[in-house]
Amino acid sequence: MTLRRDFLKAGGALVIGFPLRNLLFGQRGSVAGPPDAKQVDTWLAIHADNTATVYIGFAELGQGNSTALLQVAAEELDFDMSQLKTVRLDTNITPNQGGTYSSASIQRGGPQVRTAAAEARQALLRIASKKLSAPVESLTVARGIVSAPGGATVTYGELVGDKPFHLAFTGTAPVKSTATYKIVGTAVPRNDLPDKVSGKYVYMQHARVPDMLHGRVVRPRGQGAYGAGAKVIGLDEASIAGIPGARVLRRGDFIGVVSPNEWDAVRAARQLKVKWDEAPTLTGGDGMFDAMRAARTDDRIVLERGNAADAIGAAPYKVSHVCHAPYQSHAPFAPNCAVADVKPDSALTMCSTQDVYGTRATLARVLGLKPEQVRVQYYEGSGTYGHSCYDDVAQAASLLSQLAGKPVRLQFMRWDEHGWDNYGPAHVGEVRASASAEGKITGYEYEGWQHHWSAIETSEQLALGKPAAEWPPASAQQVNPRCCGGMYDIPNVRLVNHHVDGLGWLKAAWLRSPLDLSFSFTSEQAIDQLAFLLKLDPYEFRRRNIKDERWLGVLDAAAKAANWAPRPAAVKLSRAKTVTGRGIGMGTHLASYGAAVAEIEIDRATGKVAAKHLYGAIDAGLVVNPGNVESQIGGQLVQAASRMFKEEVTFSKTHVTSLDWASYPVLRFEECPRVTPVVVQRLNERSSGAGEEVMAAAAGAIANAFFDATGVRMTEFPMTPKRVLAALARG
């Protein structure tokens, strides 16, 4: 295709440059990072026009952290929000803060940005003190203007204007008292939204570089077992001869097509004839849980306190059940995309990674370069909710560019993203719990079976034959002591993690609130069942068993928001076609505190379940931007409903079969509950994550609401009509 528009020809592709401002810093961006975290200049720059750039190592993923971290900097520096901006993540420019994981931008990044800003402010006041001939203690600052008692003023911009501080970041500068906060703790509107609603926002999928080719990967539709790869038996390059400009690139079993025209690349990928080895490598969906439960496992006691087995054995009230949770997909709304320009001794890769430095290291390995020869720039894609295919697509684009000798833009097709995702692992949970006649939980046992996350990307496996491997043990891959009964004051507890070897299962990684929905679905139903056996209101029963005031705080906040009226569960059972129920649940991820109430409706004839209203409360310590967190809670509640009712990766013995929004349905407008988010603000507690912690609570609340409505416990999700009808028939 060509276009008869001169200005477009002249402009060529949309070239994403750096802010002009950076030209003033000769060195910034010209050498491989990470920049020295011990220098204040790494963290911020004050410009002559009395504005500042804050360099942040966390990715904006749609959660609003780029606004919130600027609030932290503005507060310490006494700048207005309008005077601050940040830049895109870039391994040559931004500091290494360790990746945007575990909803911890504010938890880990907030203190670093805060102390760097405080250190800069201290230095600025020292210079101002000389300039204004007034002691530092007598100076006041507003909007970056320093005022002395006599009325003399000078701006930060005038003091250092675009010159480096050359100042060591000691981390010792005193920070402001939370009691004086004016910006932190307020719902500042997000700085990325105006461009997102107007169409000016540059997503990864928009990034272009001159002279690039469009690429697509060619893989079987849907992955087989992790570690089995995808073996090419035959490749007929002539099958795309009719598409001029398109060509096949291959390294090992890694196959792609490139073309100057994107539609030609799409057509070529569809048309290219490849014969794949289709030997069965998977259990198939039906046999999955039995096979997982029967697998040889590496067992570890996560927590042992008292003697849970004896306590449960001796107790008057006890429950025991087994729950199953499926593989679920990140399924980002936009398939992942990357642009790579690989040369013999350097590479530039633009992608949507959660960790530019981590991605740089693996790209260097794949390309046979040193990490410092590789530059990675972050461009926001659509919400990723964890480790979707962003690393895989970055590797694939880089491999295609290396093979083509030209820059390549690669976007996955919908079936690539759905079919080759790192899914959130399936889980088998067994729980046993007991209570005394007085309504105190006396014993609790949880055993969980699942595999770890996959460490090697598909592209590297296919191209280089790199053997598949799992991540080493990490807390978010195992039975979570905070989510499995950890909110309750229980004298006898035993938590056991059964690690199933991940080779031979589906490729996996962290999916928002990793495993926690599965834990809460299993565990919170057991707690609820104890309340039921005791004929106690489930909220009251939980209150009796919680000592920690922060867990109590969120539980009370959720119950209050929902106008919870005390009564035991399942006392209003009806034979009507449509029945309703309400449930309460608790949970979290690794930090913070979550509680939720669910009001749901079940059509007993069709088996269709719908959440009508979900209430979620979170305590994440000092919440920098309550507006953002309310938005996050709303999203978590809706996504939790989607995962409880609809989402399930399906697979045969040869490959994954859920490859699009028809075969992997997610919640839609007509099924969407009303949501009520509640932020429990604790100004004097350390900030902790707020992007995933209510999801587990919501999963438990939804499951308990189902029981309240029907008197039946669901032991597997998603709660599809087929499973619901089967459960109701069993009774």
Binding site: M1, T2, L3, R4, L8, L61, G62, Q63, A187, P189, R190, D192, L193, P194, K196, V197, S198, G199, Y201, Y203, Q205, H206, N261, E262, W263, V266, A331, P332, F333, A334, P335, E380, G381, S382, G383, Y385, Q411, M413, R414, G627, S631, Q632, G634, G635, Q636, L637, V638, Q639, S642, D660, W661, A662, V666, L667, R668, F669, E670, C672, R674, V675
Partner: protein
Amino acid sequence: MASEIKLKVNDRPWIVTAAPDTPLLYVLLNELQLQGPRFGCGLAQCGSCSVLVNGVEIRSCVTPVSAVQGKAITTLEGLPAWYAARKKLRAAPALHPVQQAMLDEQAVQCGYCYNGMIVKACELLSKTPRPTEAQIRTAMNGHLCRCGTYPRIILAVQRASREMAKA
């Protein structure tokens, strides 16, 4: 084989050379370099590629470019002017009231689906100025949001409806 195709996008004429079966989306993205319509599924399942054709929302990822020759195509970028023309305003506002309402409600998270959300909501309000919540849900049901911002989108559409009634 490629041929010359005349398009009218956001009130401006364009001539592109493209294979007639090329989906409109790829022309808007790569030739016109627009950022509103965007790829989500290529299967007309999600709505991220939506544009208005003669005021009706369509999925540009499955619409051959040859099928929309001579028709008025409006993308996210052209919605303020499209609104101004319908309302007979002297000048286009910076944002369509639906876009402004999405900001006012701080509805957006990642925002990738908002092209389709905004395009569809603009179409809805042009036909049904005061929709009920149920009408909004039904109209928008073919547009997916993975971040779970549906509740705030509903609020934003209701807000835009009120603002447009005032204007």
